[in-house]
Amino acid sequence: MAGTAVLGRLTWLAATVAATNEETPRVHTLTLDVAGWGGHRAGQHLDVRLTAEDGYQAERSYSIASAPGDPLAITVERLEDGEVSPYLVDDVAEGDVFEVRGPIGGYFVWDGDEPEPVLLVAGGSGVVPLMAMARHRAQVGSTAPMRLLYSSRTWDDVIYRDELATLGIDVVHTLTRQQPPGWSGYTRRIDDELLREVAFSAADGPRVYVCGSTRFVDAAADGLVRLGYDPRSIRTERFGATG
């Protein structure tokens, strides 16, 4: 029940949209002002609840894009047949209010004090929770080597494109559908050879975070296991239907 916060309970909180930012035509970031938000760890997500005038409600989960020390932000990709994401991307404006609760998830997280190299592998909007980790690294001044392998369809689909170049991490793009003129980077879906060229050596004991569609995550995670990575060092998050 609202207002009866039991220890550890995640209550629904009012989130006011403080800013919206178009990352790509299909992907927007919403910065949220949430009184009572207790903070989060890089990699966690939150639940959004929308309520229509007649009381109908819809809930979905979204990854948190912001570093723990920054204003809370989620990045949402519009799914054409979705119910919640088209509203969040196309309709929501500054000053609008909906409800959130969280943070959720204690496994797909990176806290910034781990010394091991970190390999981030992102497919499309799977980059969002990994961006929270990259931003967190810059903010806390971690010296852990961090490398992002990021698969997008085209250069215009790359989320956070400019900011990624400023975070002090290695970023390797692969553009699987169309490349800008003069592109010299990768142009194919992630495979074992590409992973071998980009990934840290398994002997360095890296921590791995993979996020994307099921097919993407399986290709990356299975490939890394074949490269000798300890399966337990590979944390995955897969998005399926989450419209």
Binding site: Y56, D91, G106, G240, A241, T242
Partner: protein, 199 residues
Amino acid sequence: MPIISRGFRGRRQEGPPDRVPPGQYLTDDFPVLSAGPTPHTSLEEWTFTIEGGAEPVSWSWEELQALPREEVTVDIHCVTKWSKLDTAWEGVSVDTLLDAVEHDKEYALAYSDGGYTTNLPIEDLTDGKAWVAYRYGGEPLEAEHGGPARLLVPHLYFWKSAKWVRGLQLLDEDEPGFWEQNGYHLYGDPWREQRYWGD
């Protein structure tokens, strides 16, 4: 008072309300959620073991296949909000397996290849409520959905239906499993929306 989201209408649920728990939406897909890589264990090496009784009892893949099989069609509900109606499974009732074990325990920790665990009261695994399922939709269960065999406990959120299951540890006390240690509810009843700690 809920907060009205300006201009939000939503796409109304077409499913029967008595089959879609609060906060869930229907999907025809079968999304995959896993914390790590998909394990691949050969059937020759595969066993299912129940520990914690008078003595451990173990079945090989062939022995499991020889046990009475049941076909069940059930609705499943994932904590990430999707529900899928009328999913068709085939497998062995956990009742059949526990009948072979002498014990007086009240809880179980299911464990899987890859290190995944999840906890359940034994009363939620018995009386026709749970299966070790190895076929889905008339086909052998695919690895990405938990094959060769997964636990199927459809009345609880689907993370309780451990993929790649290899056994049960019978316990006196409830012991949180993998997601239960990472913020998710100890019991996970979708009809009471027990998603997270404290729900």
